[in-house]
Amino acid sequence: MRELYQRLQSLFVLGELTEQRANLFFITVEKDRLRPLITHLRDREGLRHLVLLTAVDWLEEGQFQLTYLLCDRLTRRDLGLRVMLDRANPVMESIHDLWPTAATYQRELREMFGIDFPGSPRLDEEFILEGWNTTPPYRRDFDTLEYARSQYAERAGRETRDPETHMRAQLYPESN
């Protein structure tokens, strides 16, 4: 795994490296440099299995993190590629021509985070939600509880306790 990183470093400009496990690394990559790197990894290094493609919303830093997780099933190693996108204008190059299944992930990211992948098939069709008309729900600034309260009728008499104080009273009564 280390030698793979060194090999890659001689070919590409790589960002920060995180070594999570002996066979799971995460590397930060520039947005424009992802495509040559991921093609190289797929075709030359045997990381041919796209495990997942997902996003993390770092609201405080104003960035979206895209994670492309690749796996080489013969040598049992995983490599995660992190791409940071500007949260104000989240556009990313589509990789559906490298992995047809990536189109599904990109549809979900478009709907749930509002990240655009120009050229990806059926991107504008509704995937999971239907008739959604506010902030994409997986963004951190979308408050699901507030939305649920404003949208759905609630049954009177339901007691909702603040879980933390309730559990503290139940489990550690002496700490009160």
Binding site: T101, I128, Y138, M167
Partner: protein
């Protein structure tokens, strides 16, 4: 001579590769299979465009079971996430618990006791058996053999009894939590488990006779729903679908977790990559799980703790990090991607269900040129569970 349809009437792909389907021409019919349809696996739907009785285009529609788990978990502390994760996927809930617990343990640096590792493996294998039994019933039911479903549900009920005495619940067990498992095995569990396994084996022998040696079943499944082995990486195919192609891809062997390195097994491999081969791989995999359970019960330690000491779970903060945990569930590779940011809540949880790739991109490709009557069998043979697609 086999029936040869007249393909001159079928839509031709245009210059952009898209099929030229003009619904007003009267040649095509749009047909929805699902969400309220007996031949659908759970609450999802497939939008079929048919010409005659042959499908020319199929689109999967999901989202009927979306509850937004990944959002709800961001609002809950690490220990509060534990009761809701199992509800992500109904027929095999334990994998969610295991993957979530393992991800939290890895990021928090918790080592779980030896006995807990064995009990976790036991639960996962029992859950796999349940899931496969449901599959066998569904696969036979999609081709008109209702009796198989009755038999397999009977054995599944016996297995649920074992779950119930172990965990106290039939479906949602909530037994594997970060730090270990809730309890040890009850007294006399091994004997009752052995009885259940013997009943399971005798039922499976009957299923083998009635289902796998049935001329109708063979005729309708052999050669149908063929998946080209070259698609395996492009479409992210894992689990029994990949093994039926001849690739010994099994996370239990490829990337061993829990106590699988200490167990003796070989991935079950088929060679034909059609519906029959996938059903056969799953039947043999089920028998392998029976063998694994026997090995686990024979080898596992019976003393020692089952729960690692946890910090005060109300103030449990996990340092910033990200990880991915995978396991081999009955459908393929199941994984949790967990990101923490140093607070008491997960920053992001992403569930990678195997149906995500199987039921969307792969199914839409396989369904073309399939008969309407084979769509249900094809869908079941990919073993798709919609809740893990949309969470």
């Amino acid at each position: 001579m086999a029936y040869q349809p007249d393909r001159s009437q079928y839509p031709q792909p245009g210059p952009d590769g898209k099929l030229d389907i003009d619904l007003t021409s009267g040649k095509y019919l749009k047909l929805w299979q699902g969400p309220n349809h007996p031949g659908i696996t759970g609450n999802m739907s497939v939008e079929l465009t048919v010409c005659g009785d042959e499908v020319v285009e199929g689109k999967t529609h999901v989202g009927y079971l979306h509850r937004g788990f990944e959002k709800l978990m961001e609002r809950r502390t690490f220990i509060q996430c534990f009761p809701i994760v199992c509800r992500i996927c109904v027929p095999e809930p334990d994998f969610n618990e295991y993957c979530y617990a393992a991800a939290v343990e890895e990021l928090a640096g918790i080592e779980i006791p030896e006995q807990a590792r064995w009990i976790r493996t036991l639960i996962l294998e029992m859950g796999r058996i349940n899931s496969y039994l449901m599959y066998l019933g569904g696969q036979a039911g999609a081709l008109g053999q209702g009796v198989i479903g009755q038999w397999t549900t009977y054995v599944r009920d016996l297995m649920l009894d074992r779950f119930e005495e172990m965990t106290g619940a039939r479906i949602y067990h909530m037994f594997i939590l970060p730090g270990g498992v809730r309890d040890t095995l009850p007294e006399g569990f091994d004997g009752r488990m052995e009885e259940t396994l013997q009943e399971l084996e005798s039922t499976l022998a009957d299923v083998d006779k009635v289902m796998f040696h049935n001329a109708v079943f063979k005729k309708r499944t052999i050669g149908v729903g063929y998946v080209d082995p070259s698609l395996i990486d492009q479409y992210g195919i894992t689990g029994p679908v990949a093994r039926a192609m001849g690739f010994p891809r099994d996370v239990r062997k490829d990337d061993p977790y829990l106590v699988y390195p200490e167990l003796d097994f070989e991935p079950v491999v088929g060679k034909d990559s059609d519906i029959y081969a996938r059903a056969d791989v799953r039947r043999r995999d089920l028998l392998m799980s029976v063998d694994l359970i026997r090995q686990i019960l024979a080898k596992m330690p019976r003393t020692g703790p089952v729960m690692a000491p946890l910090p005060n779970v109300l103030h449990w903060k996990i340092p910033r990090g990200e990880t991915y945990i995978r396991g081999e569930c009955s459908r393929g590779e199941y994984g949790f991607y967990l990101v923490t940011d140093g607070s008491g809540y997960p920053r992001r949880v992403n569930v990678r269900g195997p149906s995500y790739t199987h039921a969307m991109a792969l199914l839409e490709r396989l369904i073309v040129n399939c008969n309407i009557s084979d769509v249900a069998a094809l869908l079941v043979s990919l073993h798709t569970y919609p809740p893990e697609i949309e969470r």
